[in-house]
Amino acid sequence: MTKLCWIFLALLAACGHCKNQIKIAASSVPHAEILRVIEPDLKKEGICLKVVEVDDYSLPNRLLAEKQVDANFFQHLPFLNVQQSQFGYQFEVLTAVHLEPLGIYSLTVTNLNEIVTGAKVAIPSDPTNEGRALQLLETAGLIHLRDTCDAYPTLLDIAENPYCLKIQEIDAAFLPRALQDVTYAVIPSNFALQGGVIPKHQALVQESADSPYANIVVIREGDSRPSLQILKQHLTSEKVGRFIQETYRGVLIPVSDTTPSS
């Protein structure tokens, strides 16, 4: 009985010894998994990280605005910008952590220097991924997009198509299956992995780590608590980078020290 009492007291002490607590709302995979990696390290510095798993795309920002959490980790910058203009949130980006890159894949072509004129290209059909896919095709020099203020360009925003590519919009989960019917397919990495494209095939080109679509940790504007800066240090550490690379091989790439700017 005495022993139990001691254990109980020790537990109480363990909880109480936290000077600072950071509550952070995060999607369960991979965001919360990444946060758990740094939880023990933060504890050593006297910071208790409390991860609240929320698998919803509008709730975490509301929780942050209502001060129910101190930070959230589930979105990318273009999404944050839309939410801020829609709901008038006053947030700032603490740091970018990882990117789920889109890649251009091909079964017939081995590099992008030999572009096939009139080739068929499949891209995802949902607004975000379609926009990202078109931007990636532009980065790869295959097409030129018109300047639109819209964050999510569509096929109609293609200004120049010098190689006369035939671009088709396809459901994202169908892309790995349609790969053999097209010359190029722009596939989000999670579907490429689940569809068996990764690791059999290398992407000809992927979105790079400085993509605006990196997943970011967001805090309230002007929240200058030092514990948040310590959280940032740990999230951009080599340990987290290694964890992301090893655990989510080919699907996620770590984004360290580059905070995307709006």
Binding site: S125, D126, L156, Q168, A178, Q180
Partner: protein, 223 residues
């Protein structure tokens, strides 16, 4: 581009795509369904045991076709689609799963329509020395024609709603616009216009079907 400009820019082509997919798949499923439905009817009628097993097997295959959700059917048929039209994506490629989905649907309707034909007429034809084939195309088909036309109309209308999913595989059509622009991109104008056009297509298909049935019945002095 404003919502209305987008509509004017995209709708005409996709309207044609929908009509193209529905007409071609209705055409093929008409023959496929008629054939399969006739098989179902005939195997059920024959007294020998082997036919009753054949009926059970056919019926099971038809039920498989009817039970698979259309989106899954599209994916399941990829290799077959590729073999038939050379690719698994695009509007033409969507016609293959549409047809495969509609055949068992129409086959059941055909089976029912043939079963409705009065047994006495069939027996009279048998007594007069008709072959099975003659009974089929000189007695059963003409007798069941009004229900068959009604069934084909129903199949066409079902195909119009199935064709909405062609967008999954890069096919066109009004349904794709409704999903990609109306639903995913919150374009209310697009949603309304595509839905009104789909309704118009259904009305037209149903109207043609009803007219045909009326015409057949009138010719026979039944109306």
């Amino acid at each position: 581009m404003s919502q209305l400009e987008l509509v004017l820019h995209l709708v005409p082509l996709e309207l044609l795509n929908t009509i193209y997919m529905v007409v071609v798949s209705a055409f093929f499923s008409c023959f496929g369904g008629l054939f399969l439905g006739a098989l179902l009817y005939q195997t059920q009628k024959e007294p020998q045991k082997i036919f009753s097993w054949a009926y059970k097997l056919l019926s099971f295959v038809v039920n498989i076709g009817r039970s698979i959700p259309f989106a899954i059917l599209i994916v399941a048929l990829i290799p077959w689609t590729r073999w038939v039209v050379g690719t698994s994506i695009g509007t033409t490629a969507a016609i293959v799963p549409l047809t495969v989905a509609a055949i068992p649907f129409f086959a059941r309707i055909v089976e029912g329509a043939l079963n409705q034909v009065d047994e006495k007429i069939v027996q009279a034809a048998l007594i007069m020395g008709s072959t099975r084939w003659q009974i089929f195309y000189k007695v059963l088909i003409p007798e069941a024609l009004p229900s068959l036309v009604q069934g084909l109309t129903l199949t066409t209308v079902t195909l119009i709603s199935y064709s909405a999913l062609a967008g999954l595989v890069g096919g066109g059509g009004l349904g794709k616009l409704a999903i990609q622009y109306g639903y995913q991109r919150f374009n209310g104008t697009m949603m309304c216009i595509t839905l009104v056009l789909l309704l118009a297509l259904v009305e037209i298909a149903q109207g043609i079907g009803d007219q045909l049935v009326h015409h057949i019945l009138k010719k026979r002095g039944l109306v």
